[in-house]
Amino acid sequence: MNSYTPDEMMIVCMARELQNNDIAAQGLTTPMALVAYYLAKATHAPQATIMQLAGNILVHIDEPRRISILYNEFRAMEKAVHQGTQTEVYETLFKRTDSIIEFFRPAQIDKYGNSNNSLIGKDDAKIRLPGGFGIPDVSPLYPRTVYYVPRHERRVFVERVDYLGGLGVEAKAAKTRRQIRVVTNLGVFKVDADFGSMRVHSIHPGVSPEQIKENTGFEIPIPRGILETTPPTDEEIGLIREKIDPLNIRQLEILSGEERTKTLLELLEKELAEKP
């Protein structure tokens, strides 16, 4: 096959971050994250545990599941082995910190791995975002924090976030040596305590170092001979397109404006036609 879209490349990179005994927690509105969890479970991490719908529904999946917009909660409950509370979700994250994997989507992320989903803009002209929800609570606790950015742009990758939400590697509250990963449509990036600021881990095939520099709002070192991201396998692409997200719901994370609304309405009609 060997033809894949940027979102598929991203999803595969995200899935690779999941280890076999991890507990994957799903936050709010993150189709790409869920596709990645399901993909990992269908490939190299069959024993991973998935906590869906802000985490309170623990699902048991023995074969690849389909993601959904309309029936998200219903599909999770169909395969639920446990229905807890949000307090319990946190108690799970606290107890199993080392095994937790959670994909966060930041509105801003800076070179130190700090993230912001609260306020954009300094002084008076501020834009109020929906909020960080749980990111500021838990990100400094995790040894591995994974962010994903479907549109790698300068307004996302900033020198310093406008508002400190999820703390990066400078955080004093950090429990352990931390490694932050950022998966974007251009490559995979990393921030760790030793180096102190963001570096390139790998560049996706067909992306140039210049593209990354142009779209990143801070100095980012790109050594020669940097790793190229291993492209998705045919199996991975097959699973994504045929089993996990045949309607292509994941594209909603990439689209914006009118186009996004139009696509959303089309997707809803398709889902409605398949109503369980």
Binding site: E73, A76, M77, S118, G134, L264
Partner: protein, 288 residues
């Protein structure tokens, strides 16, 4: 156990101007919308609304001018994006928005529920969110290390929509349970609406499904489709079409029209459901 079944109009009298009102559910899941409509029709003002993740509940309350302050870890319509009326009001300062995180809300409620004076923890230290909350940092009497003192949160009233309950308020909440039980424990009063009022015998079939017992509930209201346009698993999913048209009305400056047509111009939530129409309900219905 005493019978607590009342009309939503009767129940909403518990809510007075200026109260701190907590709302159950999460974003576009199981929001107590019929109770929210009742609040809007009653003309109550100056409310301080607290919720883990706000959606149409918060946005409507703000749009109608019933709200002075909002406390939440998130306010938005998930896959549909921003909450437009909330956002505008927060950006212009018409309402005071206090951004919480999940932990800062849960810790405050947990302190109240468990008779702790506050919750001391390292979480959120160093964030701008904590700075804005203004919570005290003190030295641990055990280790000497600096800790955040998360103070008690005590809502005056909590509004919750459950899947089913008996007339005493023994309720079963399913799917996205959020922090509803914790809110009920920490609140002075709890108004519960339920999709179905069932017999106590029905409730007794699986007592461990009763995750919100009558001991924490003060008033019970029956309301089918009481969470519309948000979801109520296993009965119906969210009406994204209705929410899209709501968001469109906000975008085109027609929110007052929406409010009159669907809420304040009507006498009840049943009339709202009529206005929404049977066809729309059919679309989202999953199980009777």
């Amino acid at each position: 156990m005493s019978r607590k079944l009342v009309s939503s109009k009767e129940a909403s009298k518990i809510i007075k101007d200026g109260m701190r009102v907590a709302v159950g559910g999460l974003t576009i899941h199981r929001k107590p919308m019929s109770l929210i409509h009742e609040v809007l029709r009653s003309g109550t003002k100056g409310l301080r609304v607290l919720t883990l993740g706000g959606g149409p509940d918060v946005d409507l309350l703000v749009a109608a001018g019933a709200v002075e302050g909002v406390e939440a870890a998130y306010v938005g319509f998930e896959i549909l994006g921003f909450a437009p009326n909330f956002r505008k009001a927060a950006e212009t300062g018409r309402i005071k928005f206090t951004e919480h995180t999940e932990y800062s809300i849960m810790a405050g409620l947990q302190a109240t529920a468990f008779e702790a004076e506050f919750i001391p923890s390292k979480l959120l230290m160093g964030t701008d969110i904590l700075k804005a909350l203004g919570y005290k940092i003190f030295d641990s009497p055990i280790t000497g290390e600096p800790l955040v003192a998360y103070p008690r949160i005590v809502p005056d009233v909590t509004l919750i929509h459950a899947q089913r309950a008996d007339q005493y308020g023994n309720a079963q909440v399913e799917g996205v349970t959020a922090i509803d039980l914790l809110l009920a424990k920490a609140s002075k009063k709890v108004i519960l609406s339920a999709e179905k009022i069932v017999t106590t015998d029905e409730i007794m079939k699986v007592p461990s499904m009763t995750n919100l017992p009558s001991t924490f509930v003060d008033a019970v209201v029956e309301c089918r489709y009481g969470a519309h346009p948000t979801s109520c698993y296993p009965y119906y999913t969210y009406d994204l079409w209705h929410m899209i048209s709501y968001l469109e009305s906000a975008k085109t400056g027609k929110i007052d029209e929406y409010l009159r047509r669907y809420i304040t111009g009507l006498d009840s939530f049943e009339s709202y459901l009529d206005e929404v129409g049977e066809e729309s309900r059919k679309k989202i219905e999953m199980q009777r």
